[in-house]
């Protein structure tokens, strides 16, 4: 298996490349120096302490959380509608509608941002976190649809028919059979939409007005070298949070597979 070993060496090197910036993150977060460069200056936790006393950061986190939760819920709801309609029904214009809903996936985000920006300003709608939500739902929905499509697709149509045949109504069939079986898909859709929204920059940059989100705040801080170490500390916490979140997501995904007796084919998305 020398070929296998070669591949493995390459894959490990590739992982190092992927993790290189992330490994640096805690190093500079605990580095006692304002300049983000080597050599290191010594250990400190003051950047983490500084986070606590930065109210603008707190506002940005709060804004981002409101936006991410709302976008995740709305995008997942729209995703459920789309995925259910696409996997269960045939109707005229199906391809076109599904294509439009999925379009943001193949549209540079800046285009989504400026087109919404133009409309909102044209209509005189003030830019707030709610306008950011409008944009984020748009870009999260395709991911939600992709995840939920596969969840709905793996549903055997006869399961629904069986429940209906055994006396349930359409709605109770949905509640008792379909919803529990696609629940793992719904959880992943919520988590992934949440993460995408939380990390999204350019749409928020255009649509947030005077209510910056976390990425917009971070971007603005890059201009001030003295505030960059705090961002490193913030980044460290974000990495830890996303690892926790992903582990939870992975746990739910595996449990979902175990519950329905499927085979683990591995993988997110």
């Amino acid at each position: 298996m020398s070929g296998g070993r070669l591949f493995k060496t390459y894959a490990v090197a590739y992982l190092l490349f992927l993790y290189a910036p992330i490994i640096l993150l805690p190093i500079f977060a605990f580095n006692d120096g304002t300049i983000i460069a080597f050599p290191l200056q010594g250990f400190t936790t003051k950047w983490f302490e500084a986070m606590v006393s930065t109210p603008t950061l707190h506002t940005a986190v709060k804004n981002s959380l409101i936006i991410a939760v709302s976008s995740a819920v709305l995008a997942t709801c729209l995703g459920i509608f789309t995925a259910r309609a696409a996997t269960r029904y045939n109707f005229p214009g199906k391809g076109g509608i599904a294509g439009l809903v999925m379009l943001p996936l193949v549209l540079p985000e800046i285009i989504v941002a400026v087109s919404l920006f133009g409309v909102l300003l044209g209509l005189g709608i003030p830019l707030t976190i709610w306008t950011v939500i409008l944009g984020h739902v748009l870009i999260c929905t395709p991911y939600a649809v992709a995840i939920l499509n596969s969840a709905f697709q793996s549903l055997d149509r006869s399961l629904e028919e069986a429940a209906y045949d055994l006396g349930e109504t359409r709605w109770s069939t949905f509640r008792l059979i379909i919803l529990p079986l696609v629940a793992p898909g719904i959880v992943s859709s919520l988590l992934i939409s949440f993460t995408i929204s939380l990390d999204e920059f350019i749409i928020a940059f255009f649509l947030a007005g005077t209510e910056p989100t976390l990425p917009v705040y971070i971007f603005s801080q890059f201009r001030f070298p003295q505030s960059v170490p705090v961002i490193m500390a913030l980044g460290t916490i974000l990495v830890l949070l996303s690892i926790v979140l992903l582990t939870v997501a992975e746990y739910f995904r595996r449990r979902g597979i175990a519950k329905s007796g499927g085979k683990d084919t591995g993988g997110f998305l």
């Binding site: 028919e161 069986a162 209906y164 045949d165 055994l166 006396g167 349930e168 007796g261």
Partner: protein, 378 residues
């Protein structure tokens, strides 16, 4: 077993005639857009009957079953169950239950929860419902499996859960959509017997959809053979096998040899026919289910022919020929014999008997046959 084991024998003709009609189908038509899936199905299925819909894939048998279940709406025609029109009655309010081809066992529920699924709206107490579930499980031979996760079951066990789940609601009709097709051969044969026993035990009308002619013959009281959205023949298994009404039906059910023939004369009780390779013979009216004139063909099953060995005499008629191919099957041997004066060989099957040699190809031989086993086709 306190009750005597139910008999596997099929219902006699008298028993059958005494049964009340349960499902009445009158000129059922079904279109999917331009596609004409059911082309005027008229039939009556009786109380307590084991009824099969048999046909190749795409013949409309599953569509018909799903129409009875209420999953498909008829385009026109009348469907009555127990005298009541089913027009506008959705599947969840029909007195039918279904065993799906994939079994449709709810993967997130236990065996018990699956079996008791349809009892949710049942006004009985939880304890009574649980007893019903346990009885149903016992009936299908899954006593003690109640707590298991549904996805941990084998194919045969899933099938039993699906049966228990449908039968617990005591439907007037149980619909089975190719229920055995996912099982291996041994399991399939075992389940065939169990299904017959179960049907005799509960006395519920079973309607089975299958493409497997052997399965239909083994299990059914009556069989409707379907082609292209129509019922080609509806009869009990023996009649269907012995006296198929068309070449298509004959071909679909088992093997049948066909020889060209011409009608020489119509007599009071049938036809005098000149058959290629067999000569002139008389075929009774019963053996010609379709009205027939002129150029016809004559059909006969492989087992109605016998190969005559040296010194053996035919009890009825015999014709000479040459063995063209020999296929050895263990308990049987199939011979393809080219009768003198006929281009196409006929196939005959012989039970292998100890001490009687299997003949080689190229051997000149004589074939014994009887006009009573012939069927006349258009």
């Amino acid at each position: 077993m306190s009750t005597p084991a139910p008999s596997l024998a099929k219902a006699s003709e008298a028993e059958r005639a005494a049964r009340k009609p349960l499902i009445e189908l009158e000129n059922i038509q079904k279109y999917y857009g331009d596609y004409h899936a059911l082309r005027g199905i008229t039939a009556t299925i009786r109380q307590g009957e084991f009824f099969s819909l048999l046909g190749p894939s795409g013949c409309g048998k599953t569509t018909l079953l799903r129409t009875i279940a209420g999953f498909e709406e008829v385009s026109s025609g009348i469907l009555k169950i127990d005298g009541r029109s089913m027009d506008g009655v959705p599947a969840n309010r029909r007195p039918t239950n279904m065993v799906f081809q994939s079994y449709a066992i709810f993967p997130h529920l236990s065996v018990e929860q699956n079996v008791g699924f349809g009892l949710r709206r049942d006004p009985r107490s939880a304890a009574e419902k649980d007893r019903a579930v346990q009885e149903a499980l016992e009936m299908v031979g899954l006593k003690g499996y109640g707590k298991r996760a549904a996805h941990a079951l084998s194919g045969g066990q899933r099938q039993r859960v699906a049966l228990a789940r449908a039968l617990i609601l005591k439907p007037k009709v149980l619909l089975l959509d190719e229920p055995l097709s996912a099982l291996d051969k041994k399991m399939r044969e075992q389940m065939q017997v169990e299904l017959i026993k179960l049907q005799r035990q509960v006395g519920i009308t079973f309607i089975l959809v299958t493409h497997d002619q052997e399965e239909a013959l083994v299990m059914s009281d009556r069989i409707a053979v379907m082609f292209e959205g129509q019922i080609a023949q509806l009869d009990d298994p023996e009649t269907l096998y012995r006296l198929p009404k068309s070449r298509q039906v004959a071909d679909f059910i088992g093997t049948m040899n066909f020889l060209p023939a011409t009608i020489a004369a119509q007599t009071a009780d049938g036809f005098d026919v000149d058959v290629a390779g067999l000569g002139r013979c008389h075929i009774g009216a019963r053996q010609s289910p379709g009205a027939v004139t002129g150029e016809v063909s004559v059909g006969f099953r492989p087992e109605t022919l016998t190969l005559l060995y040296e010194g053996q005499q035919a009890t009825d008629r015999e014709s000479p020929g040459v063995i063209e191919e020999v296929v050895y099957y263990g308990d049987m041997t199939y011979y393809d014999v080219k009768l003198d004066g006929v281009a196409v060989p006929v196939r005959l099957s012989m039970r292998n008997v100890f001490g009687r040699p299997v003949l080689d190809r190229g051997t000149r031989t004589r074939v014994a046959w009887s006009p009573g086993a012939l069927v006349l086709f258009r």
